[in-house]
Protein backbone atom coordinates (compact mmCIF):
# COMPACT_ATOMS: atom_id res chain seq x y z
CA UNK A 1 0.00 0.00 0.00
CA UNK A 2 1.30 3.45 -0.80
CA UNK A 3 1.37 6.27 1.75
CA UNK A 4 -1.44 7.78 -0.25
CA UNK A 5 -3.78 4.82 0.32
CA UNK A 6 -2.67 4.65 3.96
CA UNK A 7 -3.53 8.31 4.44
CA UNK A 8 -6.93 7.75 2.85
CA UNK A 9 -7.67 4.94 5.29
CA UNK A 10 -6.65 7.20 8.16
CA UNK A 11 -8.97 9.92 6.89
CA UNK A 12 -6.08 12.25 6.10
CA UNK A 13 -5.92 14.43 2.97
CA UNK A 14 -4.36 12.89 -0.14
CA UNK A 15 -2.63 14.56 -3.09
CA UNK A 16 -4.69 12.59 -5.60
CA UNK A 17 -7.26 9.80 -5.73
CA UNK A 18 -5.59 6.44 -5.12
CA UNK A 19 -5.71 3.87 -7.91
CA UNK A 20 -6.88 0.48 -6.71
CA UNK A 21 -5.80 -2.61 -8.70
CA UNK A 22 -8.27 -5.28 -9.76
CA UNK A 23 -5.84 -6.70 -12.23
CA UNK A 24 -4.55 -10.27 -12.21
CA UNK A 25 -4.28 -12.13 -15.52
CA UNK A 26 -3.24 -8.90 -17.22
CA UNK A 27 -0.15 -8.75 -14.99
CA UNK A 28 1.00 -12.14 -16.27
CA UNK A 29 0.40 -11.24 -19.91
CA UNK A 30 2.02 -7.87 -19.37
CA UNK A 31 5.31 -9.53 -18.49
CA UNK A 32 5.08 -12.46 -20.91
CA UNK A 33 3.89 -15.16 -18.52
CA UNK A 34 0.91 -17.52 -18.77
CA UNK A 35 -2.16 -16.47 -16.75
CA UNK A 36 -1.94 -19.64 -14.61
CA UNK A 37 1.23 -18.22 -13.04
CA UNK A 38 -0.89 -15.74 -11.12
CA UNK A 39 -2.69 -18.58 -9.33
CA UNK A 40 -0.15 -21.39 -9.15
CA UNK A 41 3.16 -19.72 -8.27
CA UNK A 42 3.00 -17.25 -5.35
CA UNK A 43 6.47 -15.77 -5.85
CA UNK A 44 6.05 -15.16 -9.58
CA UNK A 45 2.48 -14.01 -9.09
CA UNK A 46 3.61 -11.47 -6.53
CA UNK A 47 6.45 -10.22 -8.73
CA UNK A 48 4.27 -9.98 -11.84
CA UNK A 49 1.62 -7.98 -10.02
CA UNK A 50 4.24 -5.78 -8.37
CA UNK A 51 5.83 -4.93 -11.75
CA UNK A 52 2.49 -4.01 -13.31
CA UNK A 53 1.46 -2.01 -10.25
CA UNK A 54 4.71 -0.09 -10.47
CA UNK A 55 4.21 0.52 -14.19
CA UNK A 56 0.71 1.94 -13.75
CA UNK A 57 1.22 3.54 -10.35
CA UNK A 58 -1.35 1.52 -8.45
CA UNK A 59 -1.73 2.36 -4.78
CA UNK A 60 -2.49 -1.05 -3.29
CA UNK A 61 -0.53 -4.29 -3.20
CA UNK A 62 -0.69 -7.62 -5.02
CA UNK A 63 -3.36 -10.09 -3.98
CA UNK A 64 -3.89 -13.82 -4.30
CA UNK A 65 -7.42 -15.00 -4.96
CA UNK A 66 -10.10 -16.02 -7.42
CA UNK A 67 -13.89 -16.16 -7.59
CA UNK A 68 -14.14 -19.97 -7.54
CA UNK A 69 -12.69 -20.04 -4.03
CA UNK A 70 -14.21 -22.74 -1.80
CA UNK A 71 -14.57 -25.66 -4.19
CA UNK A 72 -11.07 -27.03 -3.59
CA UNK A 73 -10.96 -26.11 0.11
CA UNK A 74 -14.16 -28.04 0.89
CA UNK A 75 -12.97 -31.15 -0.94
CA UNK A 76 -13.84 -30.60 -4.59
CA UNK A 77 -11.50 -30.10 -7.51
CA UNK A 78 -10.47 -27.10 -9.55
CA UNK A 79 -8.29 -26.58 -12.60
CA UNK A 80 -5.83 -23.81 -13.25
CA UNK A 81 -6.44 -21.69 -16.38
CA UNK A 82 -4.16 -23.09 -19.05
CA UNK A 83 -6.08 -22.91 -22.33
CA UNK A 84 -6.23 -19.88 -24.61
CA UNK A 85 -9.53 -18.44 -23.42
CA UNK A 86 -9.38 -19.38 -19.74
CA UNK A 87 -9.11 -16.51 -17.28
CA UNK A 88 -9.08 -17.92 -13.75
CA UNK A 89 -9.17 -21.22 -11.84
CA UNK A 90 -12.49 -23.02 -12.20
CA UNK A 91 -14.24 -25.97 -10.61
CA UNK A 92 -14.18 -29.39 -12.22
CA UNK A 93 -15.98 -31.24 -9.38
CA UNK A 94 -18.08 -29.79 -6.59
CA UNK A 95 -17.65 -31.17 -3.06
CA UNK A 96 -21.44 -31.45 -2.80
CA UNK A 97 -23.07 -33.25 -5.70
CA UNK A 98 -26.29 -34.09 -3.91
CA UNK A 99 -28.23 -33.68 -0.70
CA UNK A 100 -26.51 -36.74 0.79
CA UNK A 101 -23.11 -34.99 0.67
CA UNK A 102 -24.09 -32.08 2.93
CA UNK A 103 -23.90 -33.87 6.30
CA UNK A 104 -20.39 -35.05 5.41
CA UNK A 105 -19.05 -31.54 4.79
CA UNK A 106 -16.36 -30.55 7.27
CA UNK A 107 -14.70 -27.26 8.08
CA UNK A 108 -11.47 -27.03 6.10
CA UNK A 109 -8.21 -26.58 8.00
CA UNK A 110 -7.02 -23.09 6.99
CA UNK A 111 -3.38 -24.23 7.28
CA UNK A 112 -3.66 -27.01 4.73
CA UNK A 113 -6.88 -26.80 2.71
CA UNK A 114 -6.90 -26.17 -1.04
CA UNK A 115 -5.15 -23.02 -2.14
CA UNK A 116 -4.62 -21.65 1.38
CA UNK A 117 -0.98 -22.80 1.68
CA UNK A 118 -0.30 -20.90 -1.57
CA UNK A 119 -2.22 -17.96 -0.21
CA UNK A 120 -0.17 -18.00 3.02
CA UNK A 121 3.06 -18.12 1.00
CA UNK A 122 1.76 -15.10 -0.90
CA UNK A 123 0.88 -13.25 2.31
CA UNK A 124 4.43 -13.78 3.62
CA UNK A 125 5.59 -11.93 0.50
CA UNK A 126 3.04 -9.19 1.17
CA UNK A 127 4.49 -8.87 4.66
CA UNK A 128 8.10 -8.94 3.47
CA UNK A 129 7.45 -6.13 0.99
CA UNK A 130 5.36 -4.03 3.36
CA UNK A 131 2.19 -4.49 1.31
CA UNK A 132 -1.31 -4.93 2.74
CA UNK A 133 -1.81 -8.48 3.98
CA UNK A 134 -4.96 -8.71 2.01
CA UNK A 135 -6.26 -12.26 1.94
CA UNK A 136 -9.10 -13.13 -0.43
CA UNK A 137 -11.33 -15.57 1.44
CA UNK A 138 -14.25 -15.87 -0.92
CA UNK A 139 -17.60 -14.55 0.16
CA UNK A 140 -19.96 -16.43 2.46
CA UNK A 141 -22.63 -17.03 -0.19
CA UNK A 142 -20.27 -17.32 -3.15
CA UNK A 143 -18.30 -20.06 -1.40
CA UNK A 144 -21.61 -21.87 -0.82
CA UNK A 145 -22.27 -21.72 -4.56
CA UNK A 146 -18.78 -23.04 -5.19
CA UNK A 147 -19.43 -25.90 -2.78
CA UNK A 148 -22.66 -27.21 -4.33
CA UNK A 149 -23.12 -25.27 -7.63
CA UNK A 150 -25.19 -22.14 -8.01
CA UNK A 151 -28.14 -23.95 -9.49
CA UNK A 152 -28.35 -26.42 -6.63
CA UNK A 153 -27.99 -23.62 -4.11
CA UNK A 154 -30.81 -21.69 -5.80
CA UNK A 155 -33.15 -24.70 -5.86
CA UNK A 156 -32.44 -25.50 -2.21
CA UNK A 157 -33.15 -21.91 -1.16
CA UNK A 158 -36.79 -22.54 -1.98
CA UNK A 159 -37.12 -26.29 -1.50
CA UNK A 160 -34.62 -27.20 1.20
CA UNK A 161 -33.58 -24.03 3.01
CA UNK A 162 -32.10 -26.01 5.91
CA UNK A 163 -29.43 -27.37 3.59
CA UNK A 164 -28.52 -23.85 2.49
CA UNK A 165 -28.29 -22.73 6.10
CA UNK A 166 -26.07 -25.75 6.89
CA UNK A 167 -23.66 -24.81 4.11
CA UNK A 168 -23.76 -21.10 5.01
CA UNK A 169 -22.92 -22.01 8.61
CA UNK A 170 -19.78 -23.78 7.41
CA UNK A 171 -18.70 -21.11 4.91
CA UNK A 172 -19.15 -18.42 7.56
CA UNK A 173 -17.14 -20.36 10.15
CA UNK A 174 -14.51 -21.05 7.51
CA UNK A 175 -14.05 -17.38 6.70
CA UNK A 176 -13.67 -16.59 10.39
CA UNK A 177 -11.16 -19.46 10.74
CA UNK A 178 -9.06 -18.15 7.86
CA UNK A 179 -8.90 -14.63 9.25
CA UNK A 180 -8.12 -15.95 12.74
CA UNK A 181 -5.22 -18.00 11.36
CA UNK A 182 -3.92 -15.06 9.33
CA UNK A 183 -4.28 -12.81 12.37
CA UNK A 184 -2.29 -15.28 14.48
CA UNK A 185 0.53 -15.27 11.94
CA UNK A 186 0.64 -11.55 11.04
CA UNK A 187 -1.37 -9.82 13.82
CA UNK A 188 -4.96 -8.84 13.23
CA UNK A 189 -4.47 -5.13 12.66
CA UNK A 190 -2.29 -5.85 9.61
CA UNK A 191 -4.73 -8.23 7.94
CA UNK A 192 -7.24 -6.82 5.44
CA UNK A 193 -9.55 -9.65 4.40
CA UNK A 194 -11.29 -9.42 1.04
CA UNK A 195 -14.67 -11.03 0.38
CA UNK A 196 -16.04 -11.24 -3.14
CA UNK A 197 -19.78 -11.85 -3.51
CA UNK A 198 -20.70 -12.17 -7.20
CA UNK A 199 -23.30 -14.87 -6.56
CA UNK A 200 -25.33 -12.62 -4.26
CA UNK A 201 -26.12 -10.32 -7.19
CA UNK A 202 -29.75 -9.57 -8.00
CA UNK A 203 -29.33 -11.15 -11.40
CA UNK A 204 -29.40 -14.38 -9.35
CA UNK A 205 -31.16 -13.85 -6.03
CA UNK A 206 -33.81 -11.47 -4.73
CA UNK A 207 -33.24 -8.94 -1.97
CA UNK A 208 -35.54 -11.04 0.26
CA UNK A 209 -33.36 -14.08 -0.37
CA UNK A 210 -30.31 -11.94 0.36
CA UNK A 211 -31.90 -10.87 3.63
CA UNK A 212 -32.63 -14.44 4.65
CA UNK A 213 -29.66 -16.42 3.39
CA UNK A 214 -26.78 -13.96 3.01
CA UNK A 215 -27.10 -10.91 5.23
CA UNK A 216 -27.10 -12.58 8.69
CA UNK A 217 -24.05 -14.66 7.85
CA UNK A 218 -21.99 -11.81 6.39
CA UNK A 219 -22.91 -9.63 9.35
CA UNK A 220 -21.84 -12.36 11.75
CA UNK A 221 -18.49 -13.05 10.12
CA UNK A 222 -17.79 -9.32 9.81
CA UNK A 223 -18.50 -8.75 13.49
CA UNK A 224 -16.31 -11.69 14.53
CA UNK A 225 -13.47 -10.57 12.27
CA UNK A 226 -13.57 -7.01 13.57
CA UNK A 227 -13.69 -8.32 17.15
CA UNK A 228 -10.32 -10.00 16.48
CA UNK A 229 -8.80 -6.56 15.95
CA UNK A 230 -8.94 -6.43 12.15
CA UNK A 231 -9.24 -2.78 11.14
CA UNK A 232 -10.58 -2.96 7.61
CA UNK A 233 -12.54 -5.50 5.59
CA UNK A 234 -12.91 -5.16 1.83
CA UNK A 235 -16.12 -6.35 0.20
CA UNK A 236 -16.29 -6.65 -3.56
CA UNK A 237 -20.02 -6.20 -4.11
CA UNK A 238 -19.96 -7.63 -7.59
CA UNK A 239 -22.66 -7.29 -10.25
CA UNK A 240 -26.11 -5.73 -9.90
CA UNK A 241 -26.66 -5.53 -6.14
CA UNK A 242 -28.76 -2.37 -6.14
CA UNK A 243 -31.62 -4.00 -4.27
CA UNK A 244 -29.20 -5.43 -1.70
CA UNK A 245 -27.64 -2.07 -0.81
CA UNK A 246 -29.91 -1.44 2.22
CA UNK A 247 -28.59 -4.70 3.71
CA UNK A 248 -24.97 -4.10 2.79
CA UNK A 249 -25.21 -0.73 4.52
CA UNK A 250 -25.88 -2.54 7.82
CA UNK A 251 -22.78 -4.71 7.64
CA UNK A 252 -19.82 -3.47 9.67
CA UNK A 253 -16.65 -3.41 7.58
CA UNK A 254 -14.21 -1.61 9.86
CA UNK A 255 -13.08 1.91 10.38
CA UNK A 256 -13.30 2.62 7.54
CA UNK A 257 -14.39 -0.43 5.59
CA UNK A 258 -13.65 -0.81 1.90
CA UNK A 259 -16.42 -1.41 -0.64
CA UNK A 260 -15.69 -2.18 -4.24
CA UNK A 261 -18.56 -2.08 -6.75
CA UNK A 262 -19.32 -3.41 -10.19
CA UNK A 263 -20.46 -1.08 -12.93
CA UNK A 264 -24.09 -2.06 -12.32
CA UNK A 265 -24.21 -0.01 -9.12
CA UNK A 266 -24.02 3.73 -9.66
CA UNK A 267 -21.24 5.23 -7.56
CA UNK A 268 -23.58 7.88 -6.17
CA UNK A 269 -25.93 5.14 -4.92
CA UNK A 270 -22.95 3.30 -3.45
CA UNK A 271 -21.85 6.47 -1.68
CA UNK A 272 -25.37 7.16 -0.43
CA UNK A 273 -25.73 3.74 1.16
CA UNK A 274 -22.19 2.91 2.24
CA UNK A 275 -20.06 6.02 1.86
CA UNK A 276 -20.45 7.39 5.37
CA UNK A 277 -18.49 4.52 6.94
CA UNK A 278 -16.53 3.06 4.06
CA UNK A 279 -14.07 3.96 1.34
CA UNK A 280 -15.84 3.47 -1.99
CA UNK A 281 -13.92 1.74 -4.78
CA UNK A 282 -14.93 1.41 -8.38
CA UNK A 283 -16.24 0.94 -10.93
CA UNK A 284 -15.08 1.22 -14.53
CA UNK A 285 -16.79 -1.25 -16.86
CA UNK A 286 -14.23 -4.05 -17.39
CA UNK A 287 -15.25 -4.64 -20.99
CA UNK A 288 -14.62 -0.97 -21.75
CA UNK A 289 -10.88 -1.70 -21.54
CA UNK A 290 -11.31 -4.02 -24.51
CA UNK A 291 -13.95 -2.29 -26.57
CA UNK A 292 -13.79 1.43 -26.02
CA UNK A 293 -11.27 3.95 -27.26
CA UNK A 294 -8.65 5.40 -24.91
CA UNK A 295 -10.59 8.65 -24.94
CA UNK A 296 -13.82 6.91 -23.94
CA UNK A 297 -12.11 5.01 -21.12
CA UNK A 298 -10.52 8.23 -19.95
CA UNK A 299 -13.99 9.82 -19.96
CA UNK A 300 -15.43 7.00 -17.87
CA UNK A 301 -12.60 7.43 -15.37
CA UNK A 302 -13.11 11.18 -15.12
CA UNK A 303 -16.81 10.64 -14.59
CA UNK A 304 -16.15 8.12 -11.81
CA UNK A 305 -13.60 10.44 -10.20
CA UNK A 306 -16.12 13.25 -10.25
CA UNK A 307 -18.73 11.09 -8.52
CA UNK A 308 -16.12 9.82 -6.07
CA UNK A 309 -15.47 13.36 -4.83
CA UNK A 310 -18.65 13.20 -2.77
CA UNK A 311 -17.58 10.06 -0.86
CA UNK A 312 -17.23 11.20 2.77
CA UNK A 313 -14.68 8.50 3.73
CA UNK A 314 -12.83 8.65 0.44
CA UNK A 315 -12.75 7.05 -2.96
CA UNK A 316 -10.33 4.88 -4.92
CA UNK A 317 -10.62 4.50 -8.68
CA UNK A 318 -10.73 0.92 -9.90
CA UNK A 319 -12.29 -1.35 -12.46
CA UNK A 320 -15.71 -2.79 -11.60
CA UNK A 321 -14.29 -6.30 -11.76
CA UNK A 322 -11.07 -7.81 -13.07
CA UNK A 323 -9.47 -5.87 -15.91
CA UNK A 324 -9.50 -8.21 -18.92
CA UNK A 325 -6.15 -9.94 -19.36
CA UNK A 326 -6.22 -9.03 -23.06
CA UNK A 327 -6.84 -5.30 -22.47
CA UNK A 328 -4.49 -3.07 -24.48
CA UNK A 329 -1.93 -1.56 -22.07
CA UNK A 330 -2.63 2.01 -23.18
CA UNK A 331 -6.27 1.51 -22.22
CA UNK A 332 -5.25 0.52 -18.69
CA UNK A 333 -3.03 3.59 -18.47
CA UNK A 334 -6.10 5.83 -18.94
CA UNK A 335 -7.01 5.31 -15.29
CA UNK A 336 -3.77 6.80 -14.08
CA UNK A 337 -3.90 9.58 -16.66
CA UNK A 338 -7.43 10.54 -15.56
CA UNK A 339 -6.36 10.60 -11.91
CA UNK A 340 -3.34 12.80 -12.66
CA UNK A 341 -5.38 15.21 -14.75
CA UNK A 342 -8.17 15.27 -12.21
CA UNK A 343 -5.70 16.14 -9.43
CA UNK A 344 -4.21 18.93 -11.55
CA UNK A 345 -7.54 20.40 -12.60
CA UNK A 346 -8.91 20.14 -9.04
Amino acid sequence: MTDRAMRLLKGEPVDRTPLFPFILGFCAKNAGYPIATIYSDPQKSFDLQLWTHEQYDFDWGPIYGYASYGTWEFGGEIRMPTATYEQAPFHTRFPVEGEQDVPGLRLPDPRTAGCLPLSMEFSRLQEKHGKPISIVCGGNFTIAGNVCSVETLCRWMLKKPDLVHSIMRLTTDHIVDIVRYWSDVFSAERVIPQMWEPLAANIIISPKQFEKFVFPYIKESSEKILAMGVKHILYHICGDQNKNLPYWSQIPMGGPGLCSFGLEVDLLAAIEYLGSRNVIIGNIDPKAYLNETPKQIYGLCREALEKGRSAPRGFMLSSGCEIPPEAPPYHVYQMHKAIKDSATSG
Binding site: A88, V150, L158, I204, S206, K287, L290, N291, P325, E326
Partner: protein, 221 residues
Protein backbone atom coordinates in the same frame (compact mmCIF):
# COMPACT_ATOMS: atom_id res chain seq x y z
CA UNK B 1 -68.80 -27.77 -16.97
CA UNK B 2 -68.63 -28.63 -20.69
CA UNK B 3 -65.54 -30.16 -22.28
CA UNK B 4 -64.38 -26.85 -23.77
CA UNK B 5 -64.56 -25.23 -20.36
CA UNK B 6 -62.77 -28.17 -18.79
CA UNK B 7 -59.99 -27.96 -21.38
CA UNK B 8 -59.60 -24.23 -20.81
CA UNK B 9 -59.52 -24.80 -17.06
CA UNK B 10 -56.83 -27.46 -17.32
CA UNK B 11 -54.69 -25.42 -19.70
CA UNK B 12 -54.96 -22.37 -17.45
CA UNK B 13 -54.19 -24.58 -14.45
CA UNK B 14 -51.05 -25.91 -16.10
CA UNK B 15 -49.79 -22.39 -16.73
CA UNK B 16 -50.65 -21.27 -13.21
CA UNK B 17 -48.95 -24.30 -11.67
CA UNK B 18 -45.79 -23.54 -13.63
CA UNK B 19 -45.87 -19.96 -12.35
CA UNK B 20 -46.41 -21.25 -8.80
CA UNK B 21 -43.57 -23.78 -9.34
CA UNK B 22 -45.92 -26.46 -8.14
CA UNK B 23 -44.45 -29.63 -9.60
CA UNK B 24 -47.07 -31.95 -8.12
CA UNK B 25 -49.84 -29.86 -9.61
CA UNK B 26 -48.34 -29.71 -13.11
CA UNK B 27 -47.95 -33.49 -13.12
CA UNK B 28 -51.49 -33.99 -11.82
CA UNK B 29 -52.92 -31.63 -14.45
CA UNK B 30 -50.82 -33.17 -17.22
CA UNK B 31 -52.27 -36.58 -16.36
CA UNK B 32 -55.75 -35.08 -16.21
CA UNK B 33 -55.23 -33.49 -19.61
CA UNK B 34 -54.43 -36.89 -21.10
CA UNK B 35 -57.43 -38.48 -19.39
CA UNK B 36 -59.74 -35.82 -20.78
CA UNK B 37 -58.38 -36.35 -24.27
CA UNK B 38 -56.68 -32.98 -24.56
CA UNK B 39 -54.03 -32.96 -27.27
CA UNK B 40 -50.70 -33.14 -25.38
CA UNK B 41 -49.20 -30.59 -27.79
CA UNK B 42 -51.93 -28.16 -26.73
CA UNK B 43 -51.26 -28.92 -23.08
CA UNK B 44 -47.64 -27.98 -23.67
CA UNK B 45 -47.97 -24.97 -25.93
CA UNK B 46 -51.24 -23.50 -24.62
CA UNK B 47 -50.67 -24.47 -20.99
CA UNK B 48 -47.09 -24.97 -19.83
CA UNK B 49 -45.49 -22.62 -22.36
CA UNK B 50 -47.92 -19.82 -21.55
CA UNK B 51 -47.01 -20.16 -17.88
CA UNK B 52 -43.31 -20.17 -18.64
CA UNK B 53 -43.68 -17.09 -20.81
CA UNK B 54 -45.17 -15.29 -17.82
CA UNK B 55 -42.28 -16.58 -15.68
CA UNK B 56 -39.88 -14.98 -18.16
CA UNK B 57 -41.75 -11.69 -17.81
CA UNK B 58 -41.64 -11.90 -14.01
CA UNK B 59 -37.89 -12.52 -14.20
CA UNK B 60 -37.42 -9.50 -16.44
CA UNK B 61 -39.40 -7.35 -14.00
CA UNK B 62 -37.25 -8.69 -11.13
CA UNK B 63 -40.28 -10.17 -9.41
CA UNK B 64 -38.84 -13.65 -9.94
CA UNK B 65 -35.17 -14.50 -9.62
CA UNK B 66 -33.09 -17.52 -10.57
CA UNK B 67 -34.34 -19.77 -7.73
CA UNK B 68 -37.97 -19.29 -8.77
CA UNK B 69 -37.14 -19.61 -12.44
CA UNK B 70 -35.35 -22.92 -11.93
CA UNK B 71 -38.23 -24.39 -9.94
CA UNK B 72 -40.75 -23.20 -12.53
CA UNK B 73 -38.69 -24.99 -15.16
CA UNK B 74 -38.61 -28.12 -12.99
CA UNK B 75 -42.41 -27.99 -12.71
CA UNK B 76 -42.69 -27.60 -16.48
CA UNK B 77 -40.25 -30.42 -17.18
CA UNK B 78 -42.04 -32.81 -14.83
CA UNK B 79 -45.25 -32.26 -16.80
CA UNK B 80 -43.39 -32.55 -20.10
CA UNK B 81 -42.20 -36.00 -19.02
CA UNK B 82 -45.85 -37.02 -18.67
CA UNK B 83 -47.05 -35.42 -21.89
CA UNK B 84 -44.24 -35.96 -24.40
CA UNK B 85 -44.59 -39.76 -24.83
CA UNK B 86 -48.20 -39.19 -25.92
CA UNK B 87 -47.48 -36.71 -28.70
CA UNK B 88 -48.15 -38.28 -32.07
CA UNK B 89 -45.19 -37.88 -34.40
CA UNK B 90 -47.27 -36.32 -37.17
CA UNK B 91 -48.67 -33.68 -34.84
CA UNK B 92 -45.33 -32.75 -33.38
CA UNK B 93 -44.75 -29.11 -33.98
CA UNK B 94 -41.17 -28.00 -33.56
CA UNK B 95 -41.02 -24.45 -34.76
CA UNK B 96 -37.26 -24.10 -34.57
CA UNK B 97 -34.17 -25.82 -33.30
CA UNK B 98 -31.10 -24.40 -31.62
CA UNK B 99 -27.58 -25.53 -30.76
CA UNK B 100 -26.56 -23.85 -27.52
CA UNK B 101 -23.41 -23.80 -25.40
CA UNK B 102 -21.05 -21.79 -23.25
CA UNK B 103 -17.96 -20.99 -25.20
CA UNK B 104 -14.47 -22.48 -24.81
CA UNK B 105 -12.60 -21.38 -21.70
CA UNK B 106 -15.76 -20.74 -19.69
CA UNK B 107 -17.51 -23.13 -17.32
CA UNK B 108 -20.33 -20.78 -16.30
CA UNK B 109 -23.56 -22.25 -17.56
CA UNK B 110 -26.36 -20.96 -15.42
CA UNK B 111 -27.22 -18.19 -17.89
CA UNK B 112 -27.04 -20.60 -20.78
CA UNK B 113 -29.24 -23.09 -18.92
CA UNK B 114 -31.87 -20.44 -18.23
CA UNK B 115 -31.96 -19.53 -21.92
CA UNK B 116 -32.20 -23.22 -22.81
CA UNK B 117 -35.23 -23.49 -20.52
CA UNK B 118 -36.95 -20.62 -22.31
CA UNK B 119 -36.31 -22.18 -25.73
CA UNK B 120 -37.67 -25.49 -24.49
CA UNK B 121 -40.69 -23.76 -23.00
CA UNK B 122 -41.40 -22.23 -26.40
CA UNK B 123 -41.40 -25.72 -27.91
CA UNK B 124 -38.03 -25.52 -29.59
CA UNK B 125 -35.71 -28.48 -30.05
CA UNK B 126 -32.56 -27.74 -28.09
CA UNK B 127 -29.16 -29.34 -28.58
CA UNK B 128 -27.24 -28.36 -25.49
CA UNK B 129 -23.48 -28.75 -25.78
CA UNK B 130 -22.83 -27.75 -22.15
CA UNK B 131 -19.99 -25.50 -21.05
CA UNK B 132 -16.37 -24.97 -22.15
CA UNK B 133 -17.41 -25.99 -25.67
CA UNK B 134 -14.50 -26.10 -28.08
CA UNK B 135 -14.81 -23.69 -30.98
CA UNK B 136 -15.41 -26.24 -33.81
CA UNK B 137 -18.09 -28.13 -31.85
CA UNK B 138 -20.77 -25.50 -32.46
CA UNK B 139 -20.59 -25.86 -36.23
CA UNK B 140 -20.16 -29.64 -36.05
CA UNK B 141 -23.36 -29.91 -34.01
CA UNK B 142 -25.23 -27.53 -36.30
CA UNK B 143 -24.19 -29.64 -39.31
CA UNK B 144 -25.28 -32.81 -37.52
CA UNK B 145 -28.67 -31.46 -36.50
CA UNK B 146 -29.43 -28.85 -39.16
CA UNK B 147 -30.41 -26.44 -36.37
CA UNK B 148 -31.82 -23.06 -37.36
CA UNK B 149 -29.92 -21.22 -34.64
CA UNK B 150 -26.58 -21.40 -32.86
CA UNK B 151 -26.62 -19.64 -29.46
CA UNK B 152 -23.34 -18.85 -27.74
CA UNK B 153 -22.91 -17.78 -24.14
CA UNK B 154 -19.98 -16.31 -22.22
CA UNK B 155 -19.49 -14.84 -18.75
CA UNK B 156 -15.82 -13.89 -18.81
CA UNK B 157 -14.08 -11.08 -20.67
CA UNK B 158 -11.43 -13.62 -21.73
CA UNK B 159 -13.77 -16.29 -23.08
CA UNK B 160 -15.97 -13.80 -24.91
CA UNK B 161 -13.00 -13.27 -27.24
CA UNK B 162 -13.60 -16.81 -28.54
CA UNK B 163 -17.09 -15.92 -29.77
CA UNK B 164 -16.05 -14.36 -33.11
CA UNK B 165 -13.90 -17.44 -33.70
CA UNK B 166 -17.03 -19.57 -33.33
CA UNK B 167 -19.10 -17.35 -35.58
CA UNK B 168 -16.64 -17.01 -38.48
CA UNK B 169 -16.72 -20.67 -39.63
CA UNK B 170 -20.47 -20.91 -39.09
CA UNK B 171 -21.15 -17.92 -41.32
CA UNK B 172 -18.56 -19.10 -43.85
CA UNK B 173 -20.34 -22.45 -44.01
CA UNK B 174 -23.85 -21.02 -44.25
CA UNK B 175 -24.73 -17.35 -43.76
CA UNK B 176 -28.36 -18.48 -43.34
CA UNK B 177 -27.67 -19.96 -39.91
CA UNK B 178 -28.84 -17.51 -37.27
CA UNK B 179 -26.27 -16.84 -34.55
CA UNK B 180 -27.30 -15.51 -31.15
CA UNK B 181 -24.98 -14.27 -28.44
CA UNK B 182 -25.56 -13.57 -24.76
CA UNK B 183 -23.78 -13.19 -21.45
CA UNK B 184 -23.02 -10.65 -18.76
CA UNK B 185 -19.92 -9.01 -20.26
CA UNK B 186 -21.51 -8.56 -23.69
CA UNK B 187 -23.60 -5.88 -25.30
CA UNK B 188 -25.69 -5.79 -28.46
CA UNK B 189 -23.03 -3.69 -30.17
CA UNK B 190 -20.32 -6.21 -29.29
CA UNK B 191 -22.47 -9.11 -30.48
CA UNK B 192 -22.98 -7.39 -33.83
CA UNK B 193 -19.28 -6.57 -34.08
CA UNK B 194 -18.53 -10.25 -33.46
CA UNK B 195 -20.72 -11.15 -36.44
CA UNK B 196 -23.79 -12.38 -34.54
CA UNK B 197 -27.31 -11.83 -35.83
CA UNK B 198 -28.85 -11.13 -32.45
CA UNK B 199 -28.23 -10.52 -28.78
CA UNK B 200 -30.28 -11.28 -25.68
CA UNK B 201 -29.65 -9.41 -22.48
CA UNK B 202 -31.20 -12.16 -20.38
CA UNK B 203 -33.29 -15.31 -20.59
CA UNK B 204 -36.52 -13.34 -20.40
CA UNK B 205 -35.96 -11.84 -23.84
CA UNK B 206 -34.02 -14.68 -25.48
CA UNK B 207 -36.84 -16.29 -27.46
CA UNK B 208 -38.25 -12.98 -28.68
CA UNK B 209 -34.82 -11.71 -29.69
CA UNK B 210 -34.03 -14.98 -31.46
CA UNK B 211 -37.28 -14.90 -33.42
CA UNK B 212 -36.51 -11.36 -34.51
CA UNK B 213 -33.00 -12.37 -35.56
CA UNK B 214 -34.38 -15.36 -37.45
CA UNK B 215 -36.74 -13.00 -39.23
CA UNK B 216 -33.85 -10.81 -40.27
CA UNK B 217 -31.68 -13.71 -41.43
CA UNK B 218 -34.24 -15.95 -43.06
CA UNK B 219 -37.16 -13.68 -43.63
CA UNK B 220 -39.13 -15.95 -41.30
CA UNK B 221 -41.60 -14.52 -38.80
Amino acid sequence: MDSVETEKEILRGLGDAVIAYDEEKTVELAKMALEKGIDPSDAILKGLAVGMEEVGRLYEKQEYFVPELLLCADAMNAALDVLKPHIKLETQSKPFSVVIGTVEGDIHEIGKNLVRIMYEAAGWTVYDLGADVKIPRFLEEQKRTGADVVAISSLMTMSMLAIPEVIKPIKAYDPGITVMVGGAPLTREMAMAYGADGFALNCGTAVKETLEALGRVKGRP
